[in-house]
């Protein structure tokens, strides 16, 4: 190995190590702040305490917003999985013009600024006479979760060998049976990763949700933003630590099921 090669390899690893520290900084800081005893953040904290976690059950509006967020994320992921998978099958197996245009349309909400989608929906839903906050949030969230499903399932389907279904039929499977025993298992990693990303995208969504929430129905990010603006104490850090823990669990589970490397596929 020449000197220049060694130097470039060292640079790569120094930057990578620094990047790991940089990427994890906000998470580590949040966790530390949530266990600090003082209501003013100091690093390292003056003392340790779990009182911010003990407060969570009685924090105004927290439970309601968590429930709303989970429900909306779950329903929108489910609807997206159904609509997205059907559409992906049509795009891979169907023969009609404009398939590429449809694929672009379905993935485009990822590229259009969320805020722009939000204001557009706000005005349109008003024209439709749609006043219900919960329904508006659900309809909006399906639009932003659909791209994750379409993108991943489309990629998985284009690698799937459809003659396997014919083979299963020849061996005596009924058509629905062949779909269930051959196609569904082949697609399950795609369902899992896209479902997870879709769920998280809905849980985190802020720029669209903010136009549809009211005093009674808030999603978690909107509720948290209100806490940050109104009383920035470590209660927010405690909520965040809970979310980090959940993300960590989801990560470990999906690593076991499909492998971390597959999650990194873009």
């Amino acid at each position: 190995m020449t000197f220049a090669e060694r130097a470039s390899s060292i640079t790569v690893w120094v930057v990578a190590t620094a990047a790991v520290v940089f990427l994890l900084t906000p998470l580590v800081v949040t966790v530390i702040a949530s266990f600090g005893s003082s209501s003013v953040f100091t690093l390292p904290p003056a003392g340790w305490s779990t009182r911010w976690f003990e407060r969570l059950p009685t924090t105004q509006g927290l439970l309601a917003s968590v429930t709303a967020s989970i429900q909306i994320a779950a329903y929108s992921t489910l609807i997206s999985l159904v609509l997205g998978t059907l559409c992906a099958i049509a795009l891979v197996r169907g023969q009609f013009r404009g398939r590429e245009a449809i694929a672009t349309l379905l993935v485009s909400p990822l590229m259009v600024p969320g805020l722009v989608i939000g204001v557009a929906m706000l005005q349109a839903f008003r024209e439709y006479g749609l006043r219900d906050v919960w329904a508006s949030l659900l309809f909006a969230h399906v639009v932003i979760t659909l791209p994750y499903v379409v993108r991943t399932v489309l990629a998985a389907l284009s690698l799937f060998d459809f003659t396997l279904i014919d083979a299963a039929r020849t061996l005596g499977c009924s058509y629905p049976g062949a779909l269930r025993k051959v196609l569904v298992p082949a697609l399950s990693p795609a369902f899992l990763t896209s479902g997870m990303f879709a769920f998280l995208a809905s849980m985190d969504n802020y720029p669209i949700s903010i136009f549809f929430t009211d005093a009674w129905t808030k999603t978690l990010p909107i509720q948290m933003l209100q806490y940050v603006e109104e009383r920035p104490d470590p209660t927010i850090a405690a909520i965040s630590t809970g979310l980090i823990l959940l993300a960590l669990i989801a990560l470990v589970i999906s690593d076991r099921l499909v492998g971390l490397r597959r999650l990194a596929d873009f």
Partner: protein, 280 residues
């Protein structure tokens, strides 16, 4: 159920109808409406709202802020993200797991959590200030919160994974023997990087830059928490117009300008990636 043998390819295409219909109602029509709204005057079609918008020097500053911050964030992410993508492609075992986890875990944490953490980190008595003091770079504690540097740092942190992953996805496909072959033939490392690695990774770079730029140009919660109201971007101005000022005409106009920037970037990058793909 219809016997599958009778399902023609054209009928399979019907499976796309629900998703497409859904998007037309809840996405395409609203965006069309927004566009129409911004061109609507008392007597029909008009450019009035745009004429007014672009006549105001304040709005030019807003556009300048938006593009400057988005470019800086993209640049930081590229400079940091490229080496990380290379490291990730080379890594094995525990190093790979650590790298992957520290890229994917932050991706699954909400932006408000991270922006809130950066508020703590960037304060006058925050970690960055303490570290730079300890290193002797700063003589006295300073705050980075509510500065552009702080905003770029926080935003780059949030968007970095969107740069690393697309670059990684092309770096990992490069045949290491190419570089070895070039080395055998006497190519210097710099030459090998510029003539082999860089051109092969260019599509990944373009995708990453597109992702990060379009996210950074439209970020809304990060600036409002890390720099505050006196620094406006197109996105924060759009949000304010709708949520606080109740000036939907202004909001629609800024939203369309923002949309125009985002669409331009995406179209340009799609074209670039195609061109890069066809020259190989």
């Amino acid at each position: 159920m219809i016997p599958p043998e009778k399902l023609k390819a054209s009928q399979i295409g019907l499976l796309a109808v629900p998703a497409v219909a859904y998007l037309v109602i809840f996405y395409v029509l609203p965006l069309t409406w927004l566009l129409a709204h911004s061109f609507a005057g008392r007597s029909g079609f008009t450019f009035d709202s745009y004429a007014r918008f672009f006549a105001d020097p304040f709005n030019w500053r807003v556009i300048g802020n938006t593009l400057r911050i988005a470019s800086l964030v993209t640049l930081v992410c590229l400079v940091v993200g490229y080496p990380v993508a290379v490291a990730l492609a080379q890594a094995h075992g525990i190093a790979q797991v650590v790298l992957l986890a520290s890229i994917i875990l932050p991706l699954s944490i909400g932006v408000i959590v991270k922006a809130f953490a950066w508020q703590i980190v960037l304060r006058r008595d925050g970690v960055v200030s303490q570290a730079l003091m300890a290193l002797g770079i700063w003589d006295e504690p300073q705050r980075l919160l509510f500065t552009e540097t702080g905003l770029v740092l926080g935003a780059a942190n949030v968007f970095l994974p969107f740069m690393i992953l697309p670059i990684y996805s092309v770096v990992k496909l490069i045949d290491a023997r190419l570089s070895e072959a070039a080395a055998t033939l006497g190519a210097t490392p710099a030459y090998r990087f510029l003539r082999i690695t860089l051109p092969l990774t260019l599509p990944g770079i373009v995708t990453g830059v597109t992702f990060v730029f379009s996210l950074a140009v439209s970020m809304f919660v990060i600036p409002s928490l890390l720099i505050g109201d006196r620094f406006q971007t197109l996105a924060t101005l759009t949000g304010r117009a709708f949520l606080m000022m109740r000036d939907e005409q202004l909001g629609s106009t800024t939203a369309v300008v923002l949309l125009a920037f985002a669409v331009t970037v995406v179209i340009a990058s799609t074209w670039l990636v195609r061109r890069l793909g066809s020259t190989e």
